[in-house]
Amino acid sequence: MTDSKQTLQLNFQLNGKALEVECEAQETLAEVLRDRLNLTGTKISCEVQVCGACTVLVDGLPVSSCTFLAYEARDKNVLTIEGLARPDGTLHPIQQAFIDEFAFQCGFCTPGMILAAKSLLDENPKPTEDDIVHYMDGNICRCTGYVPIVRAIQKAASGMAKKEK
C-alpha cells in the first residue's frame, strides 16, 4: 500500500451506514472490504467467480466481490455478512436456520451462502426445492453435501413467512 498510485474516493452505503473510503482504481470490492475496512467475513476462494464464497449483496443482488471492482459499488447499497444480524445481536432467520440445520462445517462458504440465500428469499419468499437448487447453484460448499443448506433455506423461508402473517 506504499505505492504512489492514483487513488480515488468512493462513497457507498455499507451495512446501512454511509461510508467514504480511499482505494486504488483496480481494487476489487472484496479487497476494499477485507483489506481496507477489515471486514473479513467476506471470504476469497476461487477468484474466478465460480465458487460464491465472496458473495455480497449490492443493491440487494448477489455479486462476486472477488471480481467486482469496488468502483462499481459507488453510490450503492452494499450488504456484507457483518451487516445481517440486528444491532442487538439477534441473528437473521437465515443465519439461525443455518445453525439449527447444521448447514455448514468449516464455515468458509457460509457468509456467501447466507447472503445468496437472502437474495433468493427477498426475491422469492416461498421457493420450491427446485427454486433453491437452481438459485444456489453458483455457490460451492465442499463440506456439507448441500442437503442441510437446502433444508436451512426452507426452514428460514417458512419461519419468515409465519412472521409476516
Binding site: T40, S45, F104, C106, G107, E129, N139, R142, Y146
Partner: protein, 759 residues
Amino acid sequence: MSGEKKREFHVVNHSVPRRDGRAKVTGKAPYVSDLKLAGMAYAKVLRSPYAHARIVSIDASRAASRPGVVAVLTQNDLQGINPYYGHAVKDHPLIAIEKVRYAGEPVAAVIAESERAAFEALEFIDVRYEELKPVLTPKEALEKEAPLLHERKFEAGALRGFEGEVTAGKGTNICQQHHIQWGDVEEAFKKAAAVVEGEYYFPMTYAYAMEAYVAIADVNDNGITIYSSAQHPFMVRHDLKSVFNLPVSRVRLIVPFVGGGYGSKSYTKIEPLVAACSWKAKRPVKLQLTVEEAMLTTRSDDAYTWMRTAVDSKGKIIARQAKIYMNTGAYAENSPLVVEKSTNRCVGPYAIPNVLIENCSLYTNTVPASSYRGFGCAQVTLPGESQIDELAAKIGKDPYEFRMQNVAKPGEEFFPKMRPFDGTLKEDLEIAAKAIGWKEPLAKGHGRSVACSGSDAGAYPLTSTAVRVHADGSVTIMTGSTELGQGSHTVLPQIAAEELGVPFDEVNVVSSDTAITPYDRSTGASRTTTLMGSAVLEASREAIQQMVVMAADVLKVKIEEIEVIRGGVRCGEAQLNWSEVISKFYALPDGEVIGRSYIRKSGKFSQLPVFWEAACTGVEVSVDEETGKIKMEKLATVGDVGLAINPALAEGQDIGAATMGMGIGLFEELVYEGPQLVNGSILDYRLPRFSDMPKEVELHLVQNQDGVGPYGAKGGGEASLNSMAANIANAVDRAVGVRIRSAPLTPEKVWRALKDRKQ
C-alpha cells in the same frame, strides 16, 4: 465399555448445536487468511514452468530493487538452515534447490510491503533452466533408462506413522513399496469356481479446501511463531524444528479455524517456505496461496490397479490378488503411509483366506500427492468393490446377498495381527439396501448399488489433553485437535459436560496452539472423537478424582467418605458442586483444577487399528443413453460409528464424504497434458454443486457402542467417500450393462462404452 451401555446420556448422543455456529454465520470466525500482524509483509511465489529442469542460475537483483520489495528468497539464501523437510523422508526442499521436479514448484519468493508489489516483482526474477526429460507416469518412472527425480539419499523421518521401512532415497524413482500376503494365492485361484480379473484407474483429485493454504510466520531471536491453516500443528512443528535447528519449545504453531482440510492440509505444506521468508526479511510475513497455487501444492495419489478375485462353488470369496502402482508426484509427503494403507485396504472388509497385495508408489514430475480423505482407501475400493459386483454377476448372485455372505463379522480376526473387526457390516448393508429400495422395481435406464469399505484407521494413539475446571465451575478444554469443520469444538465439550455434569455452554475449548495446548499427533484419520475424545473423558475423570481429594480436605473427612454425584460431591448431608469445592479449597472464589490425560499405544489402544472405520453407501443412478450422462437419483449413507457423540455432526461427515466420493465417481479429475496440469482452476476442475445432489438422500447411523472410544464411539467421516466411485460404476453397469473400470465416469466415457457395447 459394556458398563457404559445402559447409561442414560445427558449431553452426549444429542445433536447439540455447533459451538462455532454463531461465529461462522456472522463472519466473525477467524481463519488465518483474515489475520494481520503488526509490521507484516507479504510473500508471493515464482513457480517453475518446467516439470523437470536443472536450475542453471537465478538472478533476483532486479526484483529486489522493485518498489515495495523487502527481500527475495531463492536457493541462494539458505545458508544456516536445513532446507529439506518431510515427516516420512526429508526429500522436500522448502524452495527449489539446483533443480525443479514439477511444473508449479516454488523457485523464488518475493517479500514486499503489499501482495501486489510482491506479485509485480515476480517477473523481474531471472531464472535460467536447462530442461531435463520429465517422468510423468509410474510406468515411465519404472523404465530402466528413466531419469531420476531424486539423486540424493534421504533420511527417513521418525514420525512416518508406520513401522516399516521407507523405500525412497535409494537411487531409484520408487518412493515406497509395501506388500501383504497370507494363504496360498496361486493354489486358491487354481481351485476357484469363478474368477474375475481387471485393470482399474483411480484419478488424481484435488480436495478443494475452499480456504487455500495460508500461513503467517514471525521468525525472530525468540524463535518461530506461525499461524497456519495446518491440520496437524504438532507435526509441522517437528519439521520446522529441524529446518531451523531449534528446540521444540521455541517453535509455536497456532491454528485458528480452518476453511476445509479433507486431508489436504495434513502435514507440512508452505510453513517452511514462509518461515524462511520471515527469517530472510526479519519481519512477519504472510503467504496466502491462490486456489490455482493450492492445486499445484497437493493432490491425491492416482492409482493403477490390476486385481483378481476368486470364489469357491459355495459363493465364498477365497482369494484376492492385486498389484498397485501409485503416482506420488515429485515429493513423498505422506504417500508412504498412503501406500501402506491402500495395500491393507485392498482386502476390503472381507474375510479372505488367501491374499497377496503388492503396492509400489513412484516419483514422477507432477504435483506432489499426499493424504486425501480416506487415504488410499478410495483408490483401492474402486477395484475392490467393482470386483465384488463383477463376481456376483459372474456366478449369478445378487451382489447385495453376495456381500452379506462375505463381509467380516463382528469380532472376526479377518486381517492377521490386526484388531478383530469391531463393526456390524451386515446390519449396515441391510439398512443401506432398504434405504435405496434395493428390492423394488427399477425404471428403465436406472441402476442401484450398495457397497462398503472397512479401513484400518490410521489414527496412531499419541494424544494428551488438559481439562481445566475453574472456580466458578466452568471448564476449559486444552486440545491439540484442530477444528476443521468436523465439529471437535462441539463434540469435545459434550464429553466434558457429560463427565463433569456441567452445562455444555460453560465448557470452552482452546485448541491447536503448540505453545499452550498439550500434544496431539494430528487431526486426521477420523481420530479426534476416539482418541482426543477419550483423552477429554479421562482428563475430566482425573479432575474429578482431584476434586474428591480437595473436597475431603475441605470437609475434613476421609476420601472414602466422599461420594461423586453429577456436577459435584456429597458427604452425608453436605453437598458441594465443583465451584464450591475449588473455591473452598483455595479459600477464594478463584483458582482451578487441571485434569490431565495421556493416551498412548497401550491398554485398550495397544492393538492397531484403534478401530475399523466401516461404512456403507447405497446409490441409485439413471443413465441418459444419448449423452452418457449419469444422474444421481438416490443416496444413502450408513455410518458404523459405535456411538455418535453428536448424531447431526456424524451424519454431516457422512454426507460430506459421500458427496466428495460422488464427485470423483462422476467428474473430478486433475488432467495432465504432457507435463502441464491443464485444468488447474475451479473454472475447469468440476466439483459437485447443489444441482448434482440426488433428490432422495437418507443418512443412517449404526450405534452399537462397539468402539474403543468414549462410550463405545469409533471414528467416522472418511468411509462414506471410499465406496462411492465403485458404487456409481456398479450402478451404471446394472442400469445399462457397461462395466467401466476407471473414475470419473464422465459422460464421454459412459457414452463411448455404450457405443462399444452396441457394436
